[in-house]
């Protein structure tokens, strides 16, 4: 599992869902991000890079932030 979600920070804006190239993410009924298909994640960091709420992270080290 290479994704970490901090639900308390998520405002359900849908940016991560829209930019994920592998349809890993969705929005739950309580308007928070939820993981639909963790095994499809390619750790591209599109979600992490553009999450405006610091609510989703890739749990692998990044060489040059």
């Amino acid at each position: 599992m290479s994704l970490k979600i901090i639900e308390a920070r998520c405002k359900g804006c849908g940016i991560c869902v829209a930019f994920c190239p592998k349809q890993v993410l969705g929005i739950s009924e309580i308007e928070k991000v939820k993981i639909l298909n963790a095994s499809a994640c390619i750790t591209c960091r599109q979600c992490e890079t553009r999450c405006p709420d610091f609510a989703i992270f890739i749990t692998e080290p990044v060489p040059t932030p």
Binding site: C13, G14, P52
Partner: protein, 276 residues
């Protein structure tokens, strides 16, 4: 370094979630700022972050540096004072389009004229979000705002060009969508010796976006993706092609004497000639 640890390092504990609206790009830009600061390798105690008033200026309260959340439009005077008192300090100004270009417009041109070594990170969301979506000097012509229900008549500033004309020695523009590039631009701005402007095109889906029917937060970021053009390529476009595009990248860079260094020389001369 893990990205979560990097964020935690530069944010004050317990300050997240922040106050910004769902989908507001201010968080993306603030994230880009701390990533750039990480890459400078500077100690947190040697950095001052000064902000004015507005949505963007809330950022100073979240960040764990020497911070000042100052008066509307007056971040640059506060920052100028800090830089003159402690020239070894890296001083970063966080401001918005209204804060810097309207209320603080005069301070902006004069700080640029002096070429004082400050880095201004301007979050441009095209509106006064905090006070209800009034139009700012960077709102595009014909856009709707709470103070322009039929569209604005005003022409917006090209702030990078204004900064250059006023004497700034570094001017760049990035966007929240191009966040990794924005990190590079902020880093270049911090490393540049002199007055640096980094305009970050933000998005305000809740106020400006709704008033102008620009879609949701992802749609507004996709608009940036589709309308930003690297500066070199932008220059090759004709006027018609330029009409709905904006250039990103380093737009101006020059060498000129830096204010605090010149000021130090004057102090030394005064002491010598004044016999103190």
């Amino acid at each position: 370094m893990f990205m979560e640890q990097l964020i935690e390092k530069y944010f004050r504990p317990g300050r997240l979630p922040h106050i910004w609206c769902p989908g507001c790009a201010n968080g993306i830009i603030t994230g880009a700022l701390v990533k750039a600061i990480y890459r400078t390798g500077l100690d947190k105690d040697n950095i001052a972050v000064v902000s004015g008033i507005g949505c963007s200026s809330r950022a100073s309260g979240y960040l764990d540096f020497n911070t000042v959340h100052s008066a509307h439009g007056r971040a640059l005077p506060f920052a100028t004072g800090i830089k003159l008192a402690a020239p070894q300090m890296t001083v970063i100004v966080i401001t918005g389009d209204g804060d810097a270009a309207a209320i603080g417009g005069n301070h902006f041109i004069h700080a640029a004229r002096r070429n004082i070594d400050l880095t201004v990170l301007l979050y441009n969301n095209n509106t006064y979000g905090m006070t209800g979506g009034q139009y700012s000097p960077l709102t595009p012509t014909n856009s709707k705002a709470s103070t322009a229900p039929y569209g604005t008549v005003d022409r917006p500033f090209d702030l990078a060009a204004l900064a250059r004309g006023a004497g700034a020695t570094f001017a760049a523009r990035g966007s929240a969508f191009h966040a990794p590039m924005l990190v590079d631009l902020i880093l270049s701005g911090i490393r540049h010796k002199g007055f640096s402007l980094v305009e970050a095109v933000a998005s305000c889906p809740i106020s400006y976006g709704r008033q102008n029917k620009l879609g949701d937060a992802p749609a507004m970021l996709k608009w940036q993706r589709d309308h930003a053009v690297p500066a070199a390529a932008y220059e090759k476009l004709n006027d018609e092609q330029k009409a709905d595009k904006f250039p990103i990248g380093v737009l101006h860079q020059a060498d000129a004497p830096e204010y605090t260094e010149e000021y130090a020389k004057i102090i030394a001369r005064a002491r010598k000639e004044g016999g103190h």
